[in-house]
Amino acid sequence: MNTRTLRRLGALALLVASVSVASAAPVIIVNKALEKEKLDAATVKAVFLGKKTAWDSGGRVILAVLKSGPVADDFLKASVDLTSSGFNNQWRRLAMTGGGTAPKSFESEEELRKFVAATPGAVGFVDSANADASVAVLTPAG
């Protein structure tokens, strides 16, 4: 294998790595007691915008969100069609006018996942690579 081929393979590996990073997919994680909850896209939106505050199986919805970063940006864009800034404003507006209880926010996915695992009723999002067996992953229907 000559040097030119090695360079090409290296470039290809970098390309694959960069594509895999760019396409990292956020997933919804919930406390394991909620693994039988049924979600569709509209319900996810209602949950993360504070319109749905209790689970169908009973118990309060406790939101956990990442403060910032590409995972938060991707998830919020896909699920509630808001930027992180717009999402924060939505919740500031609710919390400061008596309209809702603000989400718990976390600096890292690990902290968020541990909180969801330990908190009945908790729901949040992490990159799929960071969802382990301590939490349940819910895939919205439709």
Partner: protein, 403 residues
């Protein structure tokens, strides 16, 4: 130069704000909330500076004033799956209005049966237009002042909240959703110190100032259509006061009282907002007014007429990056029964704003207004304008700490 004592006080508060801001900036990522409990604490503190070149507008600010600050502090708790309780206190100094008196802004018990039906009771924020419930939330917009054509800052304490109950909910339909709010109750006590009193004082019917203002009830509804096009929503709001009455010594003969009464004073507001990427576009139109009667027996028999004014604006805001957001709007407010085409019948406001987020807790804003017309430019003891000019430049600088 001798500084009046209230200015020293205001500047002291300003410096205190800067110190607090600096301390928080040093640990800007620290959470102020109480962790691991259901109790949430939040709040904000703003200090600003207003400069107006010709007229005292919207408050007493010709030559500049530091009397431009507000603060709120709230606590809320969730009990079980459906019940939430909370309250916020608020204080404001806005020129000669507010005077840093602490008031109860909202205090609610909210039971959410399902996403389509909930009940909120107590002192509840007043739903009107896109931003009626968020009048004081500096942190959610780039603007220092919401467009005055629809959100007159002088009326802040008149339409901020009501005592009563509201049912609300959200229903998915037509590939989007509809949010509704239906409410009833009455306004908290309205004293002559409130900003709304300037409307009565400015009319010139009273010797000195209006003595009392009251309402019998407030009722209303709001419907929001979150359309299938992501980020686009339309809102319609209607509310009215019954028996909006005032009382005070009649200017022509002060030993008798003049009373005024709107059987029904209504607000009708149509709004649209489109959020796309980092842009937010908004526009609202609002009509307000009603049929008012005056009487001062036995001097003045009952006389009446319609008092009504319309306002609209278009605005655009864009977040440029984590630090900067810019915004602009044009608004027009006009008297439907103006006596002539002169500047006393309209107010046209062009505004440009820049917001800088120092960190997630502290922001700064600078805003400039070019205002044509003198409609709703008061000439009262608290907001004197004995010789109003047709054009006015208003500059506002503001910093807000929130947590």
């Amino acid at each position: 130069m001798k500084i009046p004592s209230y200015r020293k006080h205001a500047r002291g508060l300003g410096f205190a704000t800067l110190i607090v801001c600096s301390l928080l900036a040093a640990k800007s990522r620290a959470s102020v909330a109480i962790e691991n409990t259901d109790v949430q604490i939040g709040g904000f503190f703003s200090q600003g500076y207003l400069y107006s070149d010709n007229n005292n507008f919207p408050t007493k600010d010709v030559g500049g004033t530091w009397n431009f600050r507000e603060a709120g502090f709230n606590v809320s708790d969730t009990i079980g799956a459906h019940l939430r309780v909370g309250a916020q206190i608020f204080e404001q100094s806005f020129g000669n209005i507010g005077e840093d008196k602490v008031i109860l802004d909202w205090a609610i018990a909210d039971y959410n049966f399902a996403s389509w039906f909930g009940i909120r009771a107590g002192r509840v924020k007043y739903p009107k237009g896109l931003y009626g419930e968020a009048l004081d939330l500096d942190v959610v917009r780039p603007f220092v002042f919401l467009p005055g054509a629809v959100y007159n800052p002088i009326l802040r304490d008149f339409i901020a909240s009501f005592d009563g109950a509201m049912v609300y909910g959200s229903v998915n339909a037509l590939k989007g959703s509809f949010d509704y709010k239906i409410f009833g109750g009455n306004l908290p006590a309205i004293g002559p110190a409130k900003g709304v009193a300037e409307f009565y004082n400015n009319a010139g019917f009273y010797a000195g100032n209006v003595g009392s203002i009251s309402t019998k009830s407030v009722e209303g509804a709001q419907l929001t259509w979150n359309t299938p096009l992501n980020g686009l929503k339309f809102v319609t709001s209607y509310s009215f006061f019954t028996s909006l009455a005032s009382d005070g010594p009649f200017y022509a003969y002060p030993v008798v009282d003049l009373t005024s009464n709107f059987d029904r004073f209504s607000y009708t507001t149509f709004s649209a907002e489109y959020t796309v990427g980092n842009w937010v576009f908004a526009s609202e139109w609002q009509r307000q007014g009603g049929f008012i009667t005056y009487q001062a027996p036995p001097i003045l028999p009952t006389v009446g007429g319609t008092s009504r004014w319309d306002g609209w604006y278009v605005s655009a805001a864009r977040r440029l990056n984590d630090k900067f957001e810019v915004g602009a709007y044009y608004g027009s407010l006009y008297d439907d029964f103006a006596s002539g085409p002169g500047p006393q019948g309209y107010q046209r406001d062009s505004a440009l704003s820049v917001r800088y987020d120092f960190n997630e807790h502290i922001l700064f804003k600078v805003e400039a207004h070019d205002i044509d017309g003198t409609y709703e430019l008061f000439n009262t003891a608290r907001i004197p304008n004995p010789n109003p000019k047709g054009n006015n430049l208003l500059l506002a600088v503001k910093t807000t700490l929130s947590f």
